[in-house]
Amino acid sequence: MTTLDPVLPIALSDEHVMLRDAVRDFARREIVPSAAQFDESGDVPLDTIRKMGEMGLMGIETPEEYGGAGMDTIAYVLAMIEIAKADASHSTVMSVNNSLVNYVLYKFGTEAQRQKYLVAVASGEKVGAYSLTEPMSGSDAATMRSRAVLNGAGTHYTINGRKSWVTSGPVAEVIVLFTMTEPAEGHRGISAFLIDTDRPGFARGKKEPKLGIRASATSELVFDNYECPVENLIGEPGMGFKIAMTALDAGRIGIASQAIGIAEAAYEASLDYARQREAFGQKIGQFQLIQQKIADMKTRLEASRLLTFNAALAKMRHPRYTTEASMAKLFASEAAMFITHQAIQIHGGMGYSKELPLERYFRDAKITEIYEGTSEIQRLVIARNELGLR
């Protein structure tokens, strides 16, 4: 058993409150008005993504000297919730930049790598991507087929292979790539590299049409004799799997926050609707069957928040917080599915209509149960840690 501190009540600082209010205001004015339109077209909202970068949303926990805002994980959670509440797609881009790309570069990058790549992503100048999944390997990442081979002179790795499901793949300029350098070593043979997208041998595949988070572009990446200089190796050869998993621990707190944001939007809309909509001569909120939904939604939302803030505090205080992050991600994503589902039900036909954002919340919520480790994988991680299995 690895329970860390008991859940503590979280007193937000003035800084946290100001940040939350500023992000809420920004999201309400800049993101909400066009969220449905970007969902429909599937275009990447680069303009608002740039503005998010200017505010500091793309490098919340990155220290100031590397272009970030130098804030803590609580700030990250608060900001993610507010952005996701306005539009999940924007929060997907934000979460990859913050918890996958920046975190890897800050924790494992050399000073030169930090200066060249971290500053660009954390300041919002460039969009980042994290590429682990391949067409034939997702949950079982260690069976990847792509390869990197060091040349005789020891100056370059030649990378070949196909990666899939890369968030921001079509637009990213800084890519953290995981690929196999020692296939015989299994997961200990994976290494991490920084990819410059303007070098020959790199190509982006077609954009994936999706159920939800449609304004977050996802694509394949193709490496065909791509020459990667050794300076772009992150950490040591063979450290890739550890780097990937460390980043996912941080990332899962971000996805939990994203799930909370989507759920909160659906929940608040449902409360309003239950208070206004009338049937059989009364407000639908007067019906006990609707009240039951509200009670269950609220309870799961609150539990998600507590688990997620707990994981954020664990990350701030402890070197390992894998179980806390997995529990938060597992619970919050399933709660978001439940809450958005109930929200459509409370809205009846209007919930099914594209005139209201409820159906979008429902479609967007589903991804939180899949990426950065499916719910099955989270259960596996939690149980293995609890049982002391490897």
Partner: protein, 261 residues
């Protein structure tokens, strides 16, 4: 090269305004930065960036106004000052202008004072004129663009929106200007700005610090009470008729009779 931008917190335009039985105005407890001031604050920051000026953001009001001042700091203002004194409670616009002018004079080296176009809660811009008058500086109201600013030569040229069109005016500095919506795209606070702002203690200048006496805080106008708007009597009338043309003709007739057309 010191710019002062004046802000006032106002009830959110989305807040439901009502009056209680005792004639007290209820406008929700949350105040927001006057939306017009957001343009003034952003314009001050743009001028700061272009001219290496210093920007002070100033508000007259109780502690609730700190939030707007911190918002200004988070966007990039260099310092914030809150003017308040119990004696200023219920002040009229002239008292407000006296307090602002005194604070500007206390700052000493301000050459440009900027306001948002008006106060939306009371739909008035009198305080802007009064401040300029108290300072004895030129007023350039309803500015849609600052065309040139030369702190060394102490001149400013602006484009103003007037009823007949636009007017380009030059003035010497110091001056007071009020800006219109559309002069810029309001900036959002940055997280680094928020971190700095949340740690800043905002000084409060009372009447004595401003060199004003109690008489100066004596207004000439006072609000004596608020009353709820009379309830609107909305009546719906469905016009009957044999055909659409017939109904339309009856509608036009009625509209003429009501002098709507």
């Amino acid at each position: 090269m010191h710019i002062a931008v004046i802000t006032k917190s106002v009830p959110d335009t989305e807040a439901v305004v009502s009056v209680d039985a005792g004639g007290k105005l209820l406008a929700g407890d949350k105040l927001v930065v006057n939306p017009w001031d957001e343009y003034a604050i952003t314009e001050a920051i743009l001028l700061k960036e272009a001219h290496k000026a210093k920007v002070t953001i100033l508000a007259v009001g109780p502690e609730q106004h700190n939030e707007a001042l911190k918002h200004g700091l988070a966007i990039g203002c260099d310092q914030a000052i809150r003017v308040w004194d119990g004696a200023l409670e219920g002040h009229d616009s002239l008292v407000y202008a006296k307090a602002v002018a005194a604070a500007i004079q206390k700052l000493g080296d301000v050459t440009l004072v900027m306001f948002g176009r008006e106060l939306p809660d009371i739909a008035s811009d009198a305080h802007i004129f009064q401040t300029a008058r108290k300072l004895g500086w030129n007023l350039l109201g309803s500015v849609s663009k600052i065309e040139a600013l030369d702190f060394a030569a102490k001149t400013i040229r602006v484009r103003r929106l007037v009823e007949q069109g636009t007017e380009v005016l030059s003035s010497r500095l110091p001056a007071v200007i009020s800006v219109l919506k559309g002069i810029n795209e309001p900036k959002y606070p940055t997280f680094i700005g928020i971190r700095k702002a949340s740690k800043t203690e905002i000084p409060v200048w009372g009447l004595s610090a401003l060199g004003l006496d109690a008489a100066a805080a004596q207004g000439q106008a006072a609000v004596t009470g608020y009353r709820e708007l009379p309830k609107r009597e909305g009546a719906v009338e469905i016009i009957e008729g044999a055909s659409a043309q017939d109904k339309a003709a009856k509608l036009v007739e009625k509209l003429f009779a009501e002098k709507v057309l």
